[in-house]
Symmetry: C2
Subunit: 337 residues, 2 copies
DNA sequence: GACCGTCGTCGAAGCGCTTCGACGACACTG
DNA sequence: CAGTGTCGTCGAAGCGCTTCGACGACGGTC
């Protein structure tokens, strides 16, 4: 059997409460006592029993991460967030319970009301998301990565997609480009109400209008043919498009570059290209792309932070938007006269 | 505060042990009592406290899933296994704690010796894998999905990659093909000692020799150029290769089809193509490919089953190989004379 | 020197559940 | 009808931990 706190106390010749306080640091402990306890712990390979700790301490040190991974979502990007959340949680000594697919919603109720978890990280938030409702009504420490339509009473974190869209538009507008395109996600993604593609697209269109640009939108299917078609359409019959922003999966972006190349268009001489809100590495693309990165670790570690702050104290509901940054890799250039 | 078993007992007018037995079914309960208890549970929205249950019952109903997700591994395929494990676990009323990256090894010790989890599912097993050692020495209920070099004392489950390789070889050999190629993973994957690519490749080479075939191996990098080069090499200067087996990521497979098409080679008229041990859907490829599928749900649910069997009883160490199946989609044809 | 505060330690009371042993109430045996 | 089971229920003893209150031993104050 595994050693218990009783064994440690006996070996160290102190009471169990002393051991507990030595471990938690909630009361001062004499130097010599502490050392005896520490060596007893080492000797016995003592690890506190998680169940007992949860029961007595009312903390499990587990966070639920809910990520539906809906059929048409793009796994790598979403998993990057799950991983980032897991890593961030470990930095605070929390473990992560994974709730996916149907459990993403159903399991949320179960794990919170059985006090299996201390808090919840909600990923891939839709504009209308059951889980947002659930979190609100359950009144459990939680942070959403993404912004639902109704943020009332919730703690949300996300990249500032609107600002990212403006940043991309400005870059092209400042370069003198007049006709710009946005290559987005497959139509089904917009239909589902996934929030960030919509937010990005709206801000893109709005700000392009403010900057007096002509805008063309594409929502290619994932197939080669789909990309080819969308690119052809966006370029226009006269191929007068000179600025292209891509806010989509890596395969689509790579294929787009292939298609541009095949069409004899050079980047950035003929077309300036920006990869926006991408979770993957665009520096290995051919050519490497300018990017406004979406860094999972950033939003997730903030979400974990805010959740833990709610567990240990109290946090005002809020929406925190992370300002975007622009990484220049030479895939944009001023428009040639 | 959440309702406890005490509240339920009070409302139902019985003792707490009766409630507990009603819940677990470990002793018979009178019909009327059971109903009173059930309605009390509904009324109070009672959910047993996970920590207390773990402490008293010595079961947490949590399984650890360890998946290192090493830098060069292909996320979608690996995550498919994580998801399958989570889903399978839920079917047995177990939740899943995710251990990735550095925690995949380090966290294993922590979560088992603190009794946070009842068992462990080990994914992406290397030929030489620390986690196999750890599981052996920890003596914790566990199942590995994949086969380490030393399986002594371990419970392992996996697709029978050797049989899959033979199946692919036989299909081509029976079709009269004499020169066959295997397009595998990037070199780094083989170098790392990931076990299934190696097992597949070895069996492929061995069995092709038995069938008197000439074998060409390719291990393309993920880039377009990498694929193009590997395909050119495998086809040979005379393009005498007529059978191709792909055991690699979906992007590489798609690109290979693009490259074949660009080279004017038709599938299956000029080249017969088989996708082997693939976790993704090859029916949407152009053309749809014959496939020997690797079904994560299959190995994972068996792994979960075997782990839970170890928790509740005892299971002999073993290696269970899942027989491969062949799905015909018309991408192979007899060799033209 | 009486008084106070801090430090370091202990004992004991839970936390909410499972499970063992006990026991009354029956329904069978023979 | 005494003996033997099974059924349905209860009380109580933990499971291993945290935390509260208490208390002796000091060192400082006035």
């Amino acid at each position: 059997m595994a050693a218990t706190i009783n064994d440690v106390a006996r070996v160290a010749g102190v009471s169990i409460s002393t051991v507990s306080y030595a471990l938690s640091g909630k009361r001062p402990i004499g130097e010599k006592t502490r050392q005896r306890i520490e060596s007893a712990i080492l000797e016995l390979q003592y690890q506190p029993n998680a169940g007992a700790r949860a029961l007595a301490g009312r903390r499990t040190y587990i966070l639920a991460v809910t990520e539906p991974l809906r059929p048409d979502t793009y796994t790598p990007a979403h998993m990057a967030f799950v991983l980032a959340a897991a890593t961030a949680a470990r930095a605070y000594d929390y473990d992560v319970l994974l709730l996916t697919q149907d459990e993403a919603t159903g399991g949320l109720h179960r794990v919170t009301s059985s006090r299996l978890v201390d808090g919840v990280i909600v990923l891939d938030v839709l504009a209308e998301d059951e889980r947002a409702e659930l979190v609100r009504s359950l009144d459990v420490p939680a942070a959403l990565v993404g912004i639902p339509a109704d943020t009332d009473g919730l703690v949300c974190v996300d990249l500032d997609f609107e600002a990212a869209a403006r940043l991309a538009v400005d870059r092209l507008a400042d370069g003198g480009h007049r006709v710009v395109g946005l290559l987005g996600h497959p139509p089904s993604v917009y239909a589902r109400g996934s929030n960030f593609p919509l937010r990005f697209r709206e801000a893109f269109v709005t700000h392009a209008a403010e900057r007096d640009l002509e805008v063309r939108l594409g929502a290619p299917e994932r197939t080669i043919a789909g990309v080819r078609e969308a690119v052809a359409e966006i370029l226009g019959p006269d191929r007068d498009l000179t600025g292209l922003v891509m806010h989509c999966e890596d395969t689509i972006q790579m294929r787009t570059l292939d298609v541009l190349c095949a069409a004899g268009l050079r980047v950035p001489q003929d077309v300036s290209v920006i990869s926006a809100a991408s979770t993957f590495d665009t520096s290995t693309f051919a050519p490497p792309l300018d990017v406004i990165p979406l860094i999972p670790a950033e939003s997730c570690s903030r979400a974990v932070e805010l959740t833990i702050a709610q567990i240990t104290g109290t946090v005002e509901p809020r929406v925190e938007l992370i300002p975007p940054t622009y990484v220049d890799r030479g895939s944009t250039a001023p428009r040639r006269p």
